[in-house]
Symmetry: C2
Subunit: 157 residues, 2 copies
DNA sequence: GCTGAAATTCGACCTCG
DNA sequence: CGAGGTCGAATTTCAGC
């Protein structure tokens, strides 16, 4: 699907404030409220916008500690197997397979360091996990609102 | 600030769908629309909810490649210095200082592998960066909607 | 992009413990 | 006084046109 400048601007506005009214977005991108709504509906339909979510301060909910855990897996473990297994641990908020020595990298949130330790122990107990290597987050420097580069359009230049 | 069950349920509903109406949320948590709005306003005021954002499919916008980059910095580099420097690179969507050998871990999004390479080169050129170690993401297994553990209340047990 | 009907937001006011 | 419910006006959504 092809996204033009207007689509990107609308997405940018919604990433900044998902509860903005169509009129507000329209004013910003130079379109009527109706036109904005039609485009937003189309962008959702097309899967470019997958939903809307609240940004939460994890510490306000008691999640004060985060860590990254590298997983070293047994020879023929499939990414799907890893995915299914780590999905059973709700503290894992993001997981992916990666190049390099480790097979997967997990991002976990916990209530404190002891909780982190227990989660790592539980994950290390998964049959295919050979070894783990973890790093506790000391201070967060950047946390982009979305999974998309900040205020940018793709320009590989 | 103290969050009760109702607050957590409301936050849960908003994390799932930030554009849900107050009436819909109220139905789900057992409150009138007005009561929900009052609590949401209070939660934003208190900073527990920091905003609302659209969830975007990065590939739809052309961001098809992601990578994690470990930064090894010169002896007395402060986290703040790292933060300021990496914030200049829009491809860095998340960054934090961590325990372990590396000093910081960056998550970057790019249009392709060549773009990743260029970004790493630019970051490696920062004066305080001694060395980098990067991993390209092969496949994403989990991507939680929010920075908060999935469908969970903190229960370190 | 405009228009009008339906739905939602949002403040005011009232009630309860 | 804090927290919830109800009501009505203003705003927003949304489906034609």
């Amino acid at each position: 699907m092809e996204l033009d400048r207007l689509d990107r601007d609308i997405i940018g506005a919604l990433v900044e404030d998902a509860r903005a009214t169509y009129a507000e977005i329209g004013q910003r991108v130079g379109l009527s409220a109706s036109a904005v709504k039609r485009r937003v509906d189309r962008l959702r339909e097309a899967g470019a916008i997958t939903g809307f979510t609240a940004r939460v301060e994890p510490s306000a909910l008691g999640w004060t500690t985060e860590a990254y855990v590298e997983l070293f897996c047994a020879g023929k473990t499939s990414p799907a197997d890893i995915g299914v297994a780590v999905a059973r641990h709700p503290e894992v908020i993001s997981a992916c397979t990666i190049t390099g020595e480790a097979d997967a990298l997990l991002h976990i949130r916990a209530t404190d360091v002891r909780h982190v330790e227990r989660v790592i122990e539980r994950i290390a107990a998964e049959p295919f996990v050979v070894r783990t290597k973890s790093s506790i987050v000391l201070s967060r420097l950047i946390d982009a609102p979305s999974a998309t580069p900040r205020n940018e359009s793709p320009s590989p230049a």
